[in-house]
Point group: C2
Chain length 159, copies 2
């Protein structure tokens, strides 16, 4: 789908947020969450400034929007990002129920500036045993037991 003038307005804000964030001790990324034409949140990457490796622009904007809307369900929202999301952010977008993202730069450009997005995409596509991350597992029956308790729990809320 081609970007319309509203898309370009919100994507411009995401890019401006990224640019301003550089001077504010943040990484060069910005994101905006919009619901029904209204800006709910905008945020830059705060990984280094906030000592939080999860504080990417998209995650920050999603957290703020969820808090503002009082729900984990952002299925009415579109997210605009200055750059293609990394796998963590893409996962967050799916979990938030967001149905559309509009982005400007991409993972290859991010990689050229020293960001690991493309490496993480490649790692996730590998078999577990071939990843650089060591993934050990055990106590499966005990772990499965948590889900048995969950299935039997009358107060559970699915999401």
């Amino acid at each position: 789908m081609k970007l319309n003038s509203e898309d370009r307005k919100f994507l411009t804000l995401a890019i401006e947020t990224a640019t301003n964030n550089i001077k504010d001790r943040g990484g060069p990324f910005g994101a905006v969450v919009v619901s029904q034409g209204r800006i709910i949140s905008h945020a830059g990457n705060r990984v280094v400034a906030d000592h939080d490796p999860t504080a990417h622009a998209e995650v920050e904007a999603i957290r703020m929007a969820s808090a503002a809307m009082g729900t984990h369900d952002l299925s009415s929202c579109v997210i605009y990002s200055s750059c293609e999301p990394c796998p963590m952010c893409l996962g967050a977008i799916y979990w938030a129920g967001i149905k559309r993202i509009v982005y400007a730069s991409d993972r290859y450009q991010a990689a050229a500036s020293g960001f690991n997005d493309e490496m993480i995409y490649m790692e996730l596509a590998l078999e577990r045993e071939k990843r650089s991350l060591t993934m050990d597992h055990g106590m499966k029956d005990e772990g499965d037991g948590v889900f048995r308790q969950w299935n039997d729990f009358p107060g559970k809320v699915l999401y």
Copy 2:
């Protein structure tokens, strides 16, 4: 690698955290971050309770550990999780620089209880155009311009 007695101790805490979390309005997931044999943080899934779709157990435990250690770099840490991480959490683990995860249950068991981990793994493996999420892009030159400014910025901190 097989789990040793210390691994089993920390993994048991992750499972207990998940179990206790069910009764505390959380999802059936728990995670523990350990550095050099010392527990830095443990957390359950708080998505529904905290109105935050990113508040998975691993992300919460990573955020708490980073705050406690005053750095986004958790490369000295191991993470223990009651369940195999979803793509968002796996991405967060890579960004945190964590080198090893130990987990108990798995994504298929999570899917059997109604959690979308496996669906998101499959979505990420698809070509962009084939995903259920609409991904539009444009204004690439403006987006790339943020990285040009970043590359020229003397105060940048890579992570």
